[in-house]
Subunit: 371 residues, 2 copies
């Protein structure tokens, strides 16, 4: 293998492919990145056995292909090496099957390579009828749901985002059992029904690749998912197990309907949260008042904070409810519209939050009993 | 105490005074900030018993002084509270001697206070004949030396910067015994001789206050130093013990004089350092070549890197010397001039680095024996 390539072109693709390299990986060969130079261009592949990313650099973007070939380069330091090279053309050349020279005019890196034979055979499989979504829309779906996935390995299925296709509707749900985020999108046409759970950490890596509104093909299998986007193939294993049924969680009618301005409500909770920064105790109280609600919190050693938020209510009945400031702030952070609805039935029922205008996103936060 | 003040004015001064509050402090009363409202304005004081900072806000900058008084407010969360308040006038009012209300139109923080009687009496003493330096010049002195102080408590005296005044010369030296930085400044006039060692961590906090070229008065005592700058009094205890004599460390003649371009030399070492990121082994080798030097490093598992740097030398004799890439990069980072001199006598002598033009800063890095 021998070729010459511009630094920035290689750096861009390599940065994204390396997202699949896991520093805590225990399989030595997966510490490497596969460089596969063919007549048509360069394929870069990396994997942590749960996630596989491949990128392609077309021959038109390569300055000179002198000799095709395949090699596995140790990923450790590789990105830093390419990043810190001068802004010149980079020569890459295998000098025996286990050494690679990466050089510019005055600089030569001579790196040990890994054994090509040990590298696993990675299949990027496609379905005949992939879902198609714009990159920016998929990015929004991921961002609006992923924050609610569980970080606890106790219930592994909750560390993923539940994706459900029924006819022309796409449902995406994440929950850690204390709060939930649900996004519903109308698709361009009807598809076969399928339901999968994609690991949140892999979706998070895919999110970093999404930089424009080009189409993403989503190929859903029962055990894996393949995203095709620009020059990238991004394949993730799925989580197995059954995702909790959240269909009947959100009631259709509410006793208390609070119509608030996102900013004033969020800032009040943000300030009340200041006194609740300890990990275990971040409880904020909401009480209805004549003109709106009073948001308050209390920390025995420090003091207390109270804030009046003016808002419209559908009833004069009084309500006192407590919740986690952290979960509420994370839910509010993902709403784009200025006018929001806070929907509650009683002091021990779920709190539902959504935009007045945008019905596609529903967020739910569990109350905390304080007595 | 009762007054009204603009948020930004209070936030700015409070942020800087709070630099003296140490989260690892074990004296409960020093977790507080002293608010002392007098007719002439508001004095803010904080201390960690090793470092004391006081700031003054003139009455002209305070919207309304309704009642003077003194109180100690818990520092924890206080900055966050002020920062997150709406951009409105802030009302601050003591409601009994141990509670304070901090409020804006819709928000009320009710904070517990600490016992005023327990707060130590802090004297900010002045000498009759302080050194005067411009703020930006003092900032440069601090930045160019402080990186070389020791972070090890084994020899406490080395965790400080040695400041020596003789006639009209100011010498500032920091060393952790592996490298040294020495800055020499000509003063505006002659002063009494004095030598002190200021704790590096306190100098580092003072550095953050320095934002303009206003005069700084430096009041040097045998056991403390007071900096007067803008509306701030910044007083630090000194380190006791004798600072190593570095007078005879740097020879006046050198066998090898390398005349390099700062950028090309630094980048070569930066790249060579890539393969030496492990904490214990960050050795880079410099070898003279016909046209300059070869910078190289080697990591058994990863590979090696070699880079030619073109430079002028005073001799064709050959030299091979190794050093810590980390220490060399930190030394180079503080040189402002493009043309630098690297001065060496032998493979086991100190490496001296300085600008061709600016003689005020001398940096020294110890070589590492590799055989």
């Amino acid at each position: 293998m021998k070729f010459i390539i511009e630094k920035d072109i290689l750096l861009d693709k390599l940065t994204n492919v390396m997202r699949a390299v896991n520093p805590r990986n225990i399989i030595p060969i997966l510490d490497g990145v596969k460089f596969d130079l063919k007549k048509e261009g360069l394929y870069l592949t990396a994997s942590d056995s749960d996630l596989m990313i491949q990128s392609f650099i077309d021959k038109k973007e390569i300055k000179k292909i002198e000799k095709t070939g395949t090699i596995i380069i140790q990923a450790k330091y590789l990105l830093d090496i390419i990043r810190k090279l001068p802004n010149e053309d980079i020569n890459i050349e295998v000098i025996d099957s286990l050494k690679i020279l990466i050089s510019t005019k005055n600089t030569v890196f001579n790196l040990n390579c890994l054994n090509l034979d040990e590298y696993p055979n990675i299949n990027f499989e496609e379905t005949k009828n992939p879902l198609i979504l714009k990159g920016n829309i998929l990015k929004e779906i991921i961002n609006q749901t992923i924050y609610a996935v569980s970080t606890q390995e106790a219930r592994p299925i909750l560390t993923g985002v539940n994706i459900k296709v029924e006819d022309n509707m796409l449902n995406c749900i994440a929950t850690d059992s204390y709060r939930m985020s649900k996004k519903t999108i109308k698709l361009d046409k009807s598809y076969d029904s399928i339901e999968v759970v994609i690991p949140g950490k892999n979706l998070n890596e895919f999110d970093k690749l999404l930089t424009n509104d080009n189409n993403v093909e989503i190929h859903l299998f029962t055990n894996k998912v393949l995203f095709k986007y620009d020059d990238y193939l991004f394949q993730s294993n799925l989580l197995s197990g059954s995702f909790p049924n959240t269909q009947s969680l959100v009631p259709s009618e509410f006793k208390f309907i609070l119509n608030a301005t996102l900013n004033s409500f969020r800032e009040a909770i943000d300030r009340a949260a200041l006194l609740t920064q300890s990990k275990d105790r971040n409880i904020v109280k909401l009480e209805t008042t004549e003109s709106g609600v009073l948001i308050s919190s209390y920390a025995s050693e420090i003091g207390k904070v109270e804030e009046n938020v003016l808002l419209d209510k559908n009833t004069d009945e009084s309500l006192v409810i407590s919740f986690s400031s952290k979960y509420m702030l994370e839910a509010l952070r993902n709403l784009n519209e200025e006018e929001i609805l806070i929907l509650i039935n009683s002091e021990c029922s779920l709190i539902t939050i959504k935009s007045v205008k945008d019905e596609s996103l529903i967020q739910v936060v569990l109350p905390i009993r304080t007595y």
